[in-house]
């Protein structure tokens, strides 16, 4: 249990998937201009990540890992090189299914999230979380916590960024630094802030 809590805290703060592993930057920079849309995308990412990472765990450990096909009489098979293509296909499929389900049962949520859902397929944070899960040998419970935690961490970062961008509109930024340049430097400062959590030990 302690292990799970520490994974959760680590994935949200210290090992934040955006601020310390740089994943999901593209949509982070594109969508952080407006607080409401940032919140919409953030929630969608939490949702998709919490779902896809555990499903990818099942795929990896049920089909791809070395020796995983022992039940089918192929104990020597190692299909782990296929993980990249299967993971991305699975993410694309789940995003599509979620889109259809939301469209059917909650049209209001669909109009709020609609535009962002397809974008999520190419959000590297989602694929990144699945790949990290394989690399770090998480168990199923750990994966569940890690996937959700990473999503929450990403959501927090984009909300912080959107709020800062709003204030930044009134600042006089040097000409060459406007736009992309100042966003990167602001992100750097947020990252320094998040690093302070590294001092907390449980």
């Amino acid at each position: 249990m302690e292990n799970l809590i520490s994974i959760a805290l680590n994935s949200v703060f210290v090992g934040n998937i955006l601020l310390s592993y740089f994943l999901g930057m593209c949509s982070f920079l594109a969508v952080s201009r407006n607080l409401a849309t940032a919140a919409g995308l953030g929630v969608a990412v939490v949702f998709v990540m919490a779902l896809t990472t555990p499903v990818n765990w099942l795929i990896y450990h049920g089909l791809l890992a070395p020796g995983a096909l022992a039940w089918a009489g192929l104990p020597g098979a190692n299909l782990s090189f296929l993980k990249l293509i299967l993971f991305i296909a699975q993410i694309a499929a789940i995003v599509q299914v979620i889109e259809m389900v939301i469209d059917r049962y909650s049209p209001a949520l669909y109009t709020a999230l609609g535009v962002y859902l397809p974008l999520i397929t190419v959000n590297c944070a989602i694929l990144g979380a699945s790949l990290f899960m394989v690399e770090r040998n998480y168990t199923f419970a750990e994966t569940l916590v890690y996937g959700t935690g990473s999503g929450v961490g990403w959501c927090l970062a984009i909300l912080a960024m959107a709020a800062i961008q709003k204030k930044l509109r009134y600042a006089s930024v040097p000409r060459g630094l406007q736009g992309f340049g100042i966003s990167m430097i602001t992100t750097g400062l947020i990252a320094i802030g998040f690093m302070l959590f590294a001092g907390i030990s449980l």
């Binding site: 592993y21 593209c26 594109a30 990249l84 296909a89 694929l127 340049g181 990167m184 750097g188």
Partner: protein, 215 residues
């Protein structure tokens, strides 16, 4: 002046390939101008070596996928083009990943998941969607190559400063003399950490904008 020595260069300058590459390196750089593919560019720039390997892998995948998508462009149905492109890219990335594991195992361990993440790098999908889908294979290959090089230029630039100032080395070789350290010089540890990468890229973009404006 030294006309004879300059002339072959002048001929190179008039070719399409040269113009494409200069455009991608400078005015339409995928990272600093189009803001694509930043995700992976930051994580691998702590050392020049990893940055170089990553640049080569990405340039190869971009050029290869642009070529493949362009060859297939008449066969790909409009509705499912994204998934076809992703499948092409993923196949190339698996190849790149396996090649790195076979020949450069140490570097591939350091790059960890970031080679796999080339799949979701917006530059690759962006070029094949925006260019390769409606251009013949030759120009498409060139476009992919040029954008790969544009990405590499920023990556190498950032990695150069991060490794030099962060750990006093270039390609793993110490370049800052011992005497400097004895005189009180200290490596800037912040540049090795994640925030250093963000700030470095921000400053880099600033420099580039300032230079472009002067032109």
């Amino acid at each position: 002046m030294n006309g004879a020595a300059v002339r072959p260069w002048a001929a190179v300058r008039r070719t399409v390939a040269y113009k494409e590459i200069v455009k991608a390196l400078w005015r339409a750089n995928p990272i600093s101008k189009q803001i694509l593919g930043i995700c992976s560019s930051l994580a691998v720039t702590v050392q020049l070596e990893t940055a170089l390997v990553m640049s080569l892998a990405l340039t190869g995948v971009t050029a290869g996928s642009s070529l493949a998508v362009s060859l297939l462009r008449r066969a790909i149905p409009r509705n499912i083009r994204i998934i076809v492109q992703v499948a092409v890219i993923a196949t190339l990335v698996i190849l790149a990943d396996e090649i790195l594991k076979a020949f450069l195992f140490d570097v591939s361990k350091q790059l960890s998941v970031f080679v796999g993440l080339i799949i979701t790098n917006c530059i690759v999908l962006g070029r094949s969607e925006a260019y390769a889908l409606n251009h013949p294979p030759g120009p498409a290959f060139l476009d992919g190559l040029a954008n790969g090089l544009g990405y590499s230029s920023v990556l190498m630039g950032v990695a150069f400063f991060r490794e030099l100032l962060g750990s006093g080395k270039l390609f793993g070789v110490a370049v800052i003399p011992e005497a400097f350290y004895r005189a009180g010089y200290v490596n800037n540890g912040l540049l090795v950490l994640a925030p250093g990468a963000f700030i470095m890229i921000g400053l880099f973009v600033w420099l580039e904008h300032a230079l472009l404006e002067k032109k």
